[in-house]
Amino acid sequence: MKKVMSVLLIGLLSACASQTTQPTAESTSAARAETNPNLNPNLNPILKDSNNILSKRSVYFDYDSFVVKNEYRATVQAHAQYLRDNAAAKVLLQGNADERGSREYNLALGQKRADSVRSAMTLSGAKDSQIEAVSLGEEKPRATGHDEASWAENRRTDIRYQGE
């Protein structure tokens, strides 16, 4: 039976291999370097210019808070301005939460953080149709530690342009 099951399992596993996306780190970065400019030729290089405020893509939040702090107002407004000036541009706002507590509740907390950045952007003139606010909850932590410094790093909304 064991042998039969093993064969079965291997069969099943190889059957689902096509669904599995597991590029190695190396091939990912290589692919990115090559394909990204072609992926969206309209993606403005200014978005990646480290001297430009548009290269700032993260908005951090206090514990249990969803208010965009003053220190991030300029960043959010600059992206809103870019969206206003580039009607074809679209952004994905990904909210995040720290790891403490329920995964689904943290997903909803991350959504609040994404929604508040979206509100700030639409108030500054971006169109709602240019923005999708989503949450990654606690599932994609930037900092993987289990301390306040890591948690603070993960209470965040990231701004990603379509094509990035």
Partner: protein
């Protein structure tokens, strides 16, 4: 589940006796730890798929049971006896008594006084005979040692690759006869394994064997939920830069999108008839509960608040949903009617503490299990819907995602040991706990599957 656990806690041995069965109360030292030397099912999978099981503690009352080796099973590739014994022991409600001597095949061979002197109250004997057609005839008898009577005489014919399932069925029959409620040894569990940057949604037998990956991705998977008939699993995948709800059929591996609306889509929960799911969408602002048909059609909004309404869970009668909401300033558990239109009306159910989340109805509908923040700890708790009495069942640091067994006797949940995610099972009275871990990787997001359809014994 709360009723059962209280009954069990307060029961004198007489109260949980089955007719014609003598039970002796056993006192257990609370620190007793048993390790089940289970043969591990190691397969050459990208993600190692076998769970180690460790049991801690034991209920106040355990039935001492002797299981003699099934006659003839030495000719088979798998032992039935070991599976039956491990199942019963894992429930925390049985204590295994040594069974010396040769296998017994006939109840007339049983010398009752010998078994009584060994301390056994129940005795199982059995046999396994390979038939000419390649199937196996498995027979067993269950005896009440004190009364010297036979309680069960059962024979089944099974294909040789179903011997393990047959053993689980035997354990269910014994459990049902001695405990008076349905056994869950033939059920399955689903959970998510994270190894490095790889995530796998796996399904395994309730004892951790026969684990198989349903889907694997390099992006997170959360919130698996079994369809009521056990043929499908709904889950949330982040493979497309945001949470999307899918339903996957286990037999075919085919899957379909159930909720992929603008914004986030999460927290799927099946209606008891399997026709609809409650999901949480940010489509209309906030995180709100919607109903959607299992094929993704017929979306309608159900909850109506300005903040977070999430983690919906249907009552067994399908009439109400319990869910987590922050409408009162902190996350608490509420109940609302499943009506045809969105409503802001909901009854608050939890009042102790500032963080109560992840509610799941007991299968009898009389209570629910949830996570309660207890100081700096997050613990599994149960609450009775009628009396509102709360009972904390665990004392660990980071418990998550409680999922009750189909007989409400145990609750499966995720916790953390030495920084690693593992699954654990706690009995409804909090006295017995098991840990199910993997040698490498984090295990989380457990969901206990329904009773198999053939369980209508």
């Amino acid at each position: 589940m709360m009723h059962k656990s209280h009954d069990f806690l307060s029961a004198s041995p007489v109260n949980i006796m089955r007719p014609g069965f003598m039970l002796i109360r056993q006192r257990q030292s609370s620190r007793r730890s048993l390790f089940l030397a289970l043969a591990l099912w190691l397969i050459s999978a990208p993600i190692q798929a076998a769970l180690d099981i460790e049991i801690f503690g034991g209920g106040a009352s355990q039935i001492p049971i002797a299981i003699t080796p099934f006659a003839g099973e030495e000719k088979l590739k798998h032992s039935i006896t070991a599976v039956v014994a491990a199942d019963l022991q894992r429930s925390g409600l049985f204590r295994l008594v040594d069974s010396p001597g040769p296998p017994l095949r006939d109840p007339r061979q049983v010398a009752y006084p010998d078994w009584k002197s060994r301390g056994a109250n129940a005795l199982v004997i059995g046999s396994a005979v390979m038939l000419p057609d390649g199937q196996v005839e498995v027979s067993f008898y269950l005896m009440d040692v004190a009364k010297q009577v036979q309680l069960i005489d059962y024979t089944m014919i099974v294909p040789v690759d179903r011997l393990r399932a047959a053993a689980h069925q035997i354990a269910d029959i014994i459990y049902e006869k001695l405990m008076g409620d349905v056994g869950v040894f033939s059920t399955r569990i689903a959970y998510v394994v994270k190894q490095g940057n790889k995530y796998a949604l796996q399904v395994a037998d309730a004892d951790g064997f026969n684990a198989q990956s349903i889907i694997e991705y390099s992006e997170p998977i959360i919130s698996p939920a079994w369809s009521p008939d056990g043929t499908q699993i709904a889950y949330v995948s982040f493979e497309n830069k945001k949470p999307i709800v899918y339903v996957q059929t286990l037999a075919t591996r085919g899957r379909k999108v159930v909720a992929n609306f603008k914004g986030s889509n999460s927290a799927p929960a099946w209606s008891p008839d399997g026709k609809r799911l409650a999901v949480v969408l940010s489509l209309q602002g906030g995180s709100q509960i919607f109903l959607v048909n299992a094929d993704g059609s017929g979306l309608q909004r159900l909850s109506q608040s300005s903040g977070i309404d999430t983690e919906p869970n249907f009552s067994p009668d399908g009439q109400t949903i319990i869910f987590t909401s922050d409408r009162g300033g902190s996350p608490q558990i509420y109940r609302m009617a499943v009506t045809g239109s969105a409503s802001g009306t909901a009854e608050r159910l939890t009042f102790e503490g500032s963080y109560n989340v992840s509610p799941h109805h007991s299968r009898d509908g009389k209570g629910f299990t949830f996570i309660h923040r207890n100081g700096a700890k997050f613990n599994v708790a149960v609450q009775d819907l009628a009396t509102r009495q709360v009972q904390l069942l665990t004392d660990s640091r980071f418990d998550e995602s409680p999922s009750p067994a189909p007989n409400d006797r145990m609750i499966l949940y995720a916790t953390e040991v030495k920084g690693r995610g593992i699954l654990a099972v706690v009995s409804g009275d909090g006295k017995t706990r098991q840990e199910l871990s993997m040698q490498a990787g984090d295990v989380r997001e457990p969901a206990w599957g329904p009773l198999p359809k053939s369980a209508s014994r």
